[in-house]
């Protein structure tokens, strides 16, 4: 029981980290960024290349891969989202242009890393097991949870306290009003993409470490989980995404333990579906969001 809660928290921390970035972009632009999962995958490969080929320590490779994820996010915004700004159908066309970019990213990963599953070298992370109460956790798992929590806390502080955070929130509220007040809207949106993709990239690296398997389509399975999490948490709500991420992780682990692994996703999507029908704004979303 305790062991399963622990495993759920571990899985949930990655879902939450992935979804926080997802929901940040949705909150600012009202567009689902379907390339988020591709950034997740690319950053994992970047970390892998830095560790396996450049022989860097993981603690150097991780921040570099996170920054690389952020930079990919800026490229993504520039190519796929900025040209669409101001178009009436931008939420459907944005969905498609981001999907096109996801295809391009996947093609790049296929070209460089090949279609097979890649793994981190054996000695990337010390293999140690720690007892917590009656449950066991590996040092890696604990580090993953800790890193995710720290990154999410940093994002929350950044949005709440800094000038950039205020600008991003202003643009999310109303781009026009923000522009009148002197906010550089294009720059704020680009920075939102940087942050979103950096966190998505971090989630990718941690996912790659946790399951030690990275392939060009690794992001696809996480994408739908991420959708479920941001709906459950309330579209655009960052604390909601965090809570829902952990909740989904725990739900998934218990489903597998009780019903078997083929039911893993049934429960997640059933929960998603019921939340949308009973409480479309999610756990912490604003009521108005439903009209979006």
């Amino acid at each position: 029981m305790g062991q399963q809660v622990l495993n759920g928290i571990f899985l949930g921390s990655i879902y939450a980290l992935f979804a926080v970035g997802y929901t940040l972009v949705f909150g600012v632009l009202d567009i689902l960024n379907l390339a988020h999962q591709a950034v997740f995958m690319l950053a994992a490969f970047v970390a892998l290349a830095l560790v396996a080929d450049a022989h860097l320590s993981l603690w150097v490779a991780l921040p570099l891969a996170v920054v690389a994820g952020g930079l990919i996010g800026i490229v993504l915004e520039r190519l796929a989202f900025r040209p669409l700004r101001g178009r009436a159908d931008s939420n459907i066309s944005g969905l498609i242009s981001s999907l096109a970019m996801a295809t391009v990213f996947e093609a790049i990963a296929l070209q460089i890393f090949g279609p097979d599953i890649s793994r981190f070298p054996q000695d990337t992370f010390p293999d140690r097991v720690i007892q917590i109460g009656g449950a066991t956790a590996s040092l890696l798992q604990i580090c993953i949870v800790a890193i995710s929590v720290v990154l999410m806390a940093v994002l929350t502080l950044l949005l709440a306290r800094t000038r950039l955070g205020r600008q991003i929130r202003a643009v999310a509220e109303s781009p026009r009003a923000a522009r009148i007040l002197g906010v550089n809207v294009d720059r704020a949106i680009a920075m939102a993409f940087f942050l979103s993709s950096a966190l998505g990239g971090a989630a990718g690296v941690l996912f790659g470490l946790a399951f030690n398997s990275i392939s060009p389509d690794v992001g696809r399975g996480v994408e739908l989980k991420g959708l479920a999490v941001i709906i459950l948490g309330g579209m655009g709500s960052i604390p909601g995404a965090v809570i829902a991420g952990f909740a989904l992780g725990v739900i998934e682990v218990f489903t597998v333990a009780q019903l078997g692994s083929s039911f893993r996703d049934v429960v997640s999507f059933a929960v998603l579906f019921l939340v949308l029908i009973a409480r479309p704004r999610g756990l912490l979303g604003r009521a108005a969001a439903r009209e979006a």
């Binding site: 949705f26 040209p83 093609a107 070209q111 739908l224 039911f263 049934v266 029908i277 009209e291 979006a292």
Partner: protein
């Protein structure tokens, strides 16, 4: 002969994808983005395949009718709660439905779980697909310019205003959801009897997104746009393969890359889809004269 066979299956998939793009277009025509169609297609495909496998002697027309009818019936109880949602929320709720349907088939022993049903007799001919597509286009074409068609456009432009003008918005939205479900189910039945098999893996979320892309790339302003888009995007990878082989390009990644790049170019530079190309050329020619 080999060449003809290769193109025959390509044409068949153009037709089937055309139907599926139209099924997404059906709800899109009243401004609703429903992505439940992979689930509807699965229900149609399994219904058709089970009838063919277990009830010998049922005419193919009846099988296809059942393929279209079964998801249409399921669409009603789905639509009642779900159509209250708007925009992305409707899209995600319907994705959830599609995944639940797919996973239900994975876990259902009667339909052989994740392996799916195999050895379905090939009853779909090219003309069956062409006829189904023509019929669907006829229905959707007749809707335009009709009273219902105007009502759908009004709902797409502004749902609240349409309701204020006395249009029964819920009913119209439900009708289009059911119609889309029937089209997707029909396509499912056709595909099942063309590829010999149905398996849950065929009806993933990615496929619905493909049909949406086809519909938007073709252009949703005209009812035949989605078919144009489906034809373009189904044939494009084949053309790229041919061109790649001629130019000595490695297969795989490069084609995928071009596919993505072309899709991006179309969505960025042709907002009204491929069907707006002729008008654009005409305008340019007129401007030059």
């Amino acid at each position: 002969m080999d060449l003809f066979l290769a193109y025959q299956s390509l044409l068949a998939f153009v037709g089937i994808n055309g139907l599926l793009a139209l099924s997404v277009y059906a709800t899109l025509s009243c401004g609703q983005l429903s992505l439940a169609n992979a689930g509807f297609m699965a229900i149609g495909a399994y219904t058709g395949a089970l009838i063919t496998l277990h009830a010998k002697g049922v005419p193919f027309v009846a099988v296809l009718a059942a393929s279209a009818l079964a998801p249409a019936i399921v669409a009603v109880p789905l639509g009642l709660p779900v159509l209250r949602l708007r925009g992305v929320f409707l899209a995600i709720a319907t994705v959830g439905f599609g995944e639940v349907v797919r996973l239900a088939f994975v876990n259902w022993d009667y339909t052989n779980g994740a392996m799916g049903l195999v050895a379905i007799p090939q009853r779909t001919k090219l003309w069956t697909i062409a006829l189904s597509l023509a019929l669907t286009l006829f229905v959707l074409g007749r809707l335009r310019g009709s009273r219902t068609g105007y009502a759908l456009e009004a709902i797409r432009e502004d749902e609240t205003a349409a309701r204020t003008m006395g249009i029964y918005t819920t009913g119209h939205k439900m009708a289009m959801l059911v119609l889309g479900a029937a089209i997707a189910g029909l396509a499912g039945g056709l595909e099942a009897h063309f590829t010999f098999m149905v398996a849950p893996g065929t009806y993933r979320f990615e496929r619905v997104v493909e049909w949406l892309v086809q519909a938007v790339v073709g252009g949703t302003a005209a009812f035949y746009g989605p078919v144009v888009g489906a034809a373009f995007l189904t044939v494009l990878p084949e053309v790229l393969r041919e061109a790649g082989a001629r130019l000595g390009l490695a297969p795989g990644p490069f084609r995928l890359f071009l596919n993505g790049a072309i899709l991006l170019a179309v969505i960025l530079y042709l907002p009204n889809g491929l069907v707006s190309l002729p008008a654009r050329f005409r305008r340019r020619a007129a401007g030059l004269a």
